[in-house]
Symmetry: C2
Subunit: 302 residues, 2 copies
């Protein structure tokens, strides 16, 4: 789209941090790019880049502008998708950022189901912790985010939110595996493997131990739940995960115990989008499908 060329170049420069680098990325000469930037700043009425000895950086005006540029490009994309839609073609792309727990079972199933109906739609899936997911939405890199315990509710539109208990995960032959019920303090008596603080489940665990005498003393801190799952099979350790990330009835190597809400607070799984943004057809419909599926996972009222 030609009339956006300059804006695209500005974004490239902002990312590259230097005009010459950006010029190379965009396959034009630095002189041409330089002039376009200067021309734009002139008609815009204010400089948008700070000139540093080692390159350039967006100034506050530029930050404002780049946000406008991204929102504008994304909105144009939405219009094009909507136009394609009304001429009968169901195409498009959905970019979604989500927590690790969503990756193994939930998201593949949902995407496969969606694509059964709309094979023209393509997907990008990004694993993101809650902060990174929010940043993705803000910069329009993702249309949707499905994350546990998002930090800044108010900056986004919450399409739907459900609760999930934290579950203790261990091998079937673990000493605790025979119990009827389990409390957090039981788990902490054994070696436990927990994710780093950036991840939702750790946040909840930290909250929980904050009001206990016992402390978190992780034998292992790992940012991969897949690692955790396999690790607990090899040691008498306890891991933690949400039900949505577990194949509860399908794998008899594990013992899984949901922890009560008074023990560890439930995790809030929220489906988010950029505030006020109108999503293109495909992301909007997919969000709708996700919302429906998530409602089915809602905890029965206590």
């Amino acid at each position: 789209m030609k009339h956006l060329q300059t804006l695209l170049l500005i974004e490239a420069v902002a990312k590259a941090g230097s005009i010459r680098k950006a010029a190379e990325d965009m396959n034009i000469t630095s002189s041409a790019l330089n002039r376009r930037i200067q021309g734009f700043e002139e008609e815009f009425g204010a400089p948008i880049f700070e000139r540093l000895p080692r390159g350039v950086r967006l100034n506050p005006a530029g930050e404002l502008l780049i946000q406008h540029i991204r929102s504008q490009m994304s909105d144009l994309e939405r219009v094009r998708a909507q136009v394609a839609d009304l001429s009968g073609v169901r195409r498009g792309h959905v970019s979604i950022a989500c927590s690790q727990a969503i990756q193994p079972y939930f998201m593949p199933r949902e995407i496969a189901e969606y694509r059964r109906e709309h094979s023209g739609v393509s997907f990008s899936v990004h694993v993101r912790d809650r902060d990174a997911a929010e940043e993705d939405l803000r910069s329009y890199q993702s249309d949707l985010a499905l994350v546990f315990e998002p930090r800044h509710h108010a900056e986004f539109d919450v399409i739907l939110s459900i609760e999930q208990p934290v579950c203790a995960v261990m091998s079937r032959d673990h000493p605790l595996a025979g119990r009827e019920k389990l409390r957090l303090r039981d788990c902490l008596a054994y070696p436990h493997v927990v994710p780093p603080p950036a991840i939702g489940i750790r946040y909840l665990l930290d909250l929980a131990v904050g009001r206990m005498s016992q402390k978190l003393a992780p034998s292992i801190e790992a940012d991969s739940f897949e690692f955790m799952r396999h690790y607990v099979l090899n040691d008498q350790a306890v891991g933690f995960q949400f039900p949505i990330g577990l194949n509860i009835d399908g794998d008899d190597r594990f013992a899984i115990f949901p922890l009560g809400e008074r023990d560890v607070p439930y995790g809030k799984l929220s489906l988010l989008q950029m505030k006020g943004r109108i999503l293109p057809v495909a992301p909007a419909r997919f969000a709708n499908q996700l919302a429906l599926s998530l409602v089915d996972l809602r905890l029965p009222a206590v």
Copy 2:
């Protein structure tokens, strides 16, 4: 702003209804304009105009696009205003659509007050009935609308809403002028002058008479409240207006009676903006001031 040139031309064509006319308006030749449109349609991937024997008209895709164009231009304007703001200058423009009742006293006072602080800000004020005001918001011709009884609440963001009683207005020497209180049916016994159905106050009167035996039998239907005010001085007629449009204590030629809510429903005066739109600095601040002033006019709870 050069990169928007094509979009601006598209808007001009949409408005003019013909490429040649628009070309004249924009001071270029029709051939150049024609080719730009064709070029845009090609890279956009779909035609946006229907070619008719007497000119062109936006097709559905074009309608979608023009909405994007307008929102985009307005957002860029917002960014520029914000940038100007952060370099210390307080400039900008506010475009507001409002009911007639707002014109004589309320709006002039508010604008004057705002401009005392920010003399760099300019204003456009448009008199609009409730439907036209909404259309103004939708097409980004106005930043704000202050109207009685807006029809489609849900399509807009309601910044604030207050209630005002309908008042009967007559000359001091009118036979009814000595009364303590007045009811609608008293007024209808005399010649009355009412606005056309498009105007909020008429809508309320129609609602009111709908549940009465008596009917509205206007001697005069006039779309100017100023006309109404002067007319009732020249005939033993009754007119209707909201308090905000009356100089209640300042003009002793008139007798004014608020009508009870059970008699004629109160009018809802709403300050609206386009849904989800982020207003530029000046309109946003002015909206804020309006909201504060309107709150002072709120009816004391009954």
